[in-house]
Subunit: 415 residues, 2 copies
């Protein structure tokens, strides 16, 4: 069976998931792990514990249309844990009591000097024909059923237990059952400074030309990621060619690949060029310094950050001339440039970055509306200042300003 | 139609969700918001963007069996955004071009001094009979279709856009369409300074005694939230009594209720007491200043923050005596206290907070291991310094340190 033919579905069971009290973190984990094996999940369904009839019906539908169905949740000892019964009913099997399973559960309680509550006895039952999947971290064993070359796997909903069981039992099992899988190769390109639609436009021609490569776009504040996924391992060569063309088209907007964050890219450039940076920020309130110190080892490149929220702080601590603030206002290219210059001087660093703006929701005027931000950079040889009109909520603008400031430094370091 | 009869389903669309690259945060948000209105989601389905036929088929099935179907994702301008087309196909409608929608999108780009990429024109199309749901934060309008008393709502996948549209348009719409719903009452208590298991222990007795109230626990770095949910609107009185007892047991660890963040609680206390604060932080790298300036209006209470990553910065800018650093090391109660004192002096504020520590992964020694953090507070009348040994990853420790520092200030402001 090739990977294209294996239909994989997940079913996450739990009222807490459907009520929004917990996110379903199990499906993303399983998706990532399966895709490393070359298996792609097709669909995730999330259901509450009750009513029982929905669960049984959905199980029947999913089991019918998939080759591999992985369930998470509902294996605990309490009344609202109904997965065991639902599997039995959906597949028309009886529940069979397994004395060795009960012994294992009893032993687990004894080891912790506890008496097993009677309700835990339920966990020693399995649908007829099923095998138990050992649970090293909890009392609920998992369930493995193989019927007509179809595989059903049921795991507990507690993420640590589920993950331990996946690693110890499920992954080896899947590797035995699907020995010929190999994951489709992919490339992950990360850009900053462009809107998602603009990134798409830059790549549109190659997207349309090369149908064996699927493009995915993922936008975060200030960042657009692009995933290029080949249809099969045979398409590796095409993927490489297409990725190379994509890199060429993205040019300097491409800041990194894979897991690399913009913060890491800037950090590595500072390392490489042996440069130091300092920051004087107003509206970002510390977020730019925080970003520049997020990577371990930042103390080798980041000297000082000043969060100058008030005019007095800008003047007294940073020596931004009061005259400048009076003449041009605190949100002005003049003050941004002065902040950058003073940060550089205070830290005695190669670069200084200055940020001033109005993040809102209040504080905007007709001349200086919410979203107006000046970002300046001072180096040994030059001063740059850019003006931006951001749109959106305070938190989002803050994140975008940070990315733009990091990118300004990145581009300077690339020169 | 009573709430029991309204069948609600969600469909989240996006390959990034099915591949485990992003969690589906939209469904939990919608679940929570709908349950406030008295609507309960029955089932969540997550599907990739491709193949188109699955999406169309699933849409047909879900629309047939539900009264209210909410879709998120796939409304962007790019090639992989296919929800618009899928809805039209599933319901047998044509896509109709709406000139006013295009104008709104063009205006949005113009406002930001950008030329609209041609692909954005796709976002001006709606299935025949549909209404646009305005998107105040992005270019993609949402889609509202009402067919045979059934409602289909399609929202973008970007959480901030989706949430803004829900609040402005979808919630009012649902309240008009389902006027007779009444949600089960709940209380949301937020604590800081206690581990989840300790919170659970404090409340164990009332959890066991009162079966009509369901307790949910949600742990974030430095924060544990508790949700008390009544079985039905009839249990409001019991809920109030139980919540009062829970508040009593949590005591000063309860910092707020509902949506209130710890940052907001601190901000409101600063407002109430008309106090100012300044910060000198080392290992948190700006994160504490960022937290203190996150609430709009912070400039009325936050004067200055200094991120002193290097010894020189601590000495030159903050006047922390070199002798102190030489004698006790940069990570010491003496230096933390001095940072707090100097922050207070620099900003001429009522309070100064000082933070110094080792966040790792490198930099630890046997005497001063990774996770060792000193947090100090200086006021007109006193100095406090606490020592902590945090465990975990750099990012998580950073968040926890910020919460502990905020809590130190909160408790001082409560006195």
């Amino acid at each position: 069976m090739s990977q294209r033919e294996v239909i994989v579905e997940f079913l996450s069971i739990g009222s807490e998931l459907i009520k929004g009290e917990h996110e379903d973190n199990n499906s993303p984990y399983l998706s990532r792990e399966l895709s490393k094996l070359g298996l792609q999940c097709r669909r995730v369904t999330v259901l509450p514990d009750f009513p029982h009839s929905w669960l049984v019906q959905t199980l029947q539908t999913l089991f019918k249309r998939s080759h591999l169905l992985i369930l998470t949740g509902g294996l605990g000892p309490t009344e609202d844990d109904v997965t065991r019964e639902a599997i039995a009913k959906a597949l028309g099997k009886k529940l069979i009591f397994h004395p060795p399973l009960l012994e294992a559960i009893l032993k687990r309680f004894k080891k912790r000097n506890l008496v097993m509550p009677r309700i835990n006895k339920r966990q020693a039952y399995l649908p007829q024909g099923a095998q138990a999947i050992p649970n090293p971290l909890g009392s609920a064993p998992g369930i493995l059923m193989e019927v007509n070359k179809k595989i059903l796997i049921s795991l507990p909903g507690v993420p640590v237990e589920m993950q331990a069981m996946f690693e110890k039992s499920v992954r080896p099992l899947l590797m035995r059952r699907f020995p010929n899988l190999s994951p489709s190769p992919s490339v992950f390109l990360r850009t900053t400074g462009l809107a998602e639609s603009r990134v798409n436009e830059l790549l549109q021609e190659i997207i349309r030309k090369e149908k064996k490569i699927t493009f995915g776009f993922y936008a975060h504040p200030g960042i657009v990621d692009i995933k290029l996924l080949a249809d099969s391992p045979r398409d590796l060569k095409i993927l490489r060619k297409v990725a190379q063309e994509a890199r060429r088209r993205l040019g300097p907007f491409l800041y990194g690949e894979g897991n690399r964050t913009l913060e890491e890219t800037v950090f590595r450039l500072l390392e490489k060029k042996k440069k130091w940076v300092s920051v004087a920020e107003s509206c970002t309130g510390g977020a730019l310094s925080e970003a520049l110190t997020r990577v371990p080892g930042s103390s080798r490149h980041f000297k000082v950050g000043v969060v100058a929220y008030s005019h007095e702080a800008k003047n007294a601590l940073l020596k931004v001339p009061n005259r400048l603030i009076r003449l041009h206002g605190a949100v002005s290219p003049e003050v941004a440039s002065s902040l950058a210059e003073q940060a550089k001087r205070l830290g005695q660093t190669d670069f200084g970055i200055g940020v001033t703006g109005i993040l809102g929701p209040g504080g905007g005027t007709k001349q200086k509306p919410v979203g107006l931000v000046y970002i300046a950079l001072a180096s040994q040889v030059k001063r740059i200042c850019h003006r931006f009109n951001f749109v959106g909520e305070r938190e989002i603008i803050r994140e975008r300003v940070v990315k733009v400031a990091l990118d300004l430094l990145r581009r300077e370091l690339l020169k």
